[in-house]
Subunit: 204 residues, 2 copies
């Protein structure tokens, strides 16, 4: 059925994306090249063209996989956190930062301006699911404008992560970063609204 097996190679597409992730991890976004992923998968330099007509398409697939791992990092950090709204939001930030630290090149590829297909269905699905995690953990803090709180947390953690990846001094280690966010969350007036009826019961 969905065996996806190629004639000669046997599921080349996934191999190319895997090789792409390795290249980006080792050499940053600009190290991602069609010819190199082809070489890594032991196929000719033009073989990827059938799966990814253009470099932008390959980037898109790598970025989509990046968002999946990104989401996994956040979910895992949330799961590790104490079960309070405050700690879960903080946990999402921790996961965000850990991902940026674990995959700096991929992080830059995902959020930089390297040309890719923003409308790609697979990418949109993956990035929407990532953003939904942030929206979910900031939902309890609808004290002021919920969109404001969401955007504030997102900007804060994304800015910090970007500066850290960009090699700015100060952000030192992950431990220091998490301590900073803990202090900052204590400082923000995250007024926690009653869970707004934990959900109006979808009724069907």
């Amino acid at each position: 059925m969905s065996q996806k097996k190629s004639h000669h190679h046997g599921n080349l597409r996934a191999a190319l994306v895997d090789a792409g992730l390795a290249l980006v991890r080792d050499g940053g976004p600009d190290a991602l090249s069609i010819r190199k992923v082809a070489a890594a998968a032991n196929v000719s330099h033009a073989a990827p063209a059938h799966h990814f007509p253009t470099l932008a398409h390959l980037r898109t697939a790598v970025i989509a996989e990046g968002y999946r791992r990104f989401r996994a990092f956040m979910e895992e950090a949330i799961a590790q956190a104490p079960d309070t709204a405050h700690d879960r939001a903080l946990g999402a930030c921790f996961g965000y930062l850990r991902f940026a630290r674990a995959y700096p090149g991929l992080f830059d590829l995902m959020f930089g301006t390297h040309a890719h297909d923003h409308e790609d269905a697979e990418l949109c699905a993956a990035s929407d699911e990532s953003y939904a995690v942030l929206a979910r953990v900031s939902a309890p803090f609808a004290g002021n404008d919920p969109a404001d709180t969401e955007l504030a947390i997102w900007s804060l953690v994304h800015g910090f992560a970007s500066l850290a990846v960009g090699g700015q001094k100060m952000l030192a280690d992950q431990e220091t970063a998490e301590a900073f966010f803990t202090r900052l969350f204590a400082r923000l007036d995250l007024v926690e609204t009653a869970p707004a009826t934990p959900r109006p019961a979808p009724e069907i």
Copy 2:
């Protein structure tokens, strides 16, 4: 003296940097190429080598000029703001955002991971001066930890700007963005310490 005039061209270095800024403005960081800036300056493809041994050196010079304009944007916005500590800090953020919106490609080049010389003296001077602006406007808010306040404001505005440049929806127009920051600054508990003696009076 410091005429810098070249034999044939007459100050090629500046022309190459200018052409580089135009390329980045039009086509993003990856559009910056040695051969294209050479063509734009009507010199051979190897002419830039004497001024910029490598693409990374050209990038470094373009980025340094970017920081100078970046700082100018912030200074101008601060000058336009009412003369209160709160409004000046907010003004710096406005300038930050206006720069990112005015030069999205340059912004990404400056803060992305494209290889360049982080130790370059000219670049370090320009970026230090930019960071000093943020440090200056956040200095009055030493309510908690001064470094924390500085880093929080920096992360917040940088994250928002990065997301906006990255094409994320929502950040719509500059007006909406500035309104968001105005609300957010009102929400933060920016406790303003006594100006710590408005400056110990440099004496002299």
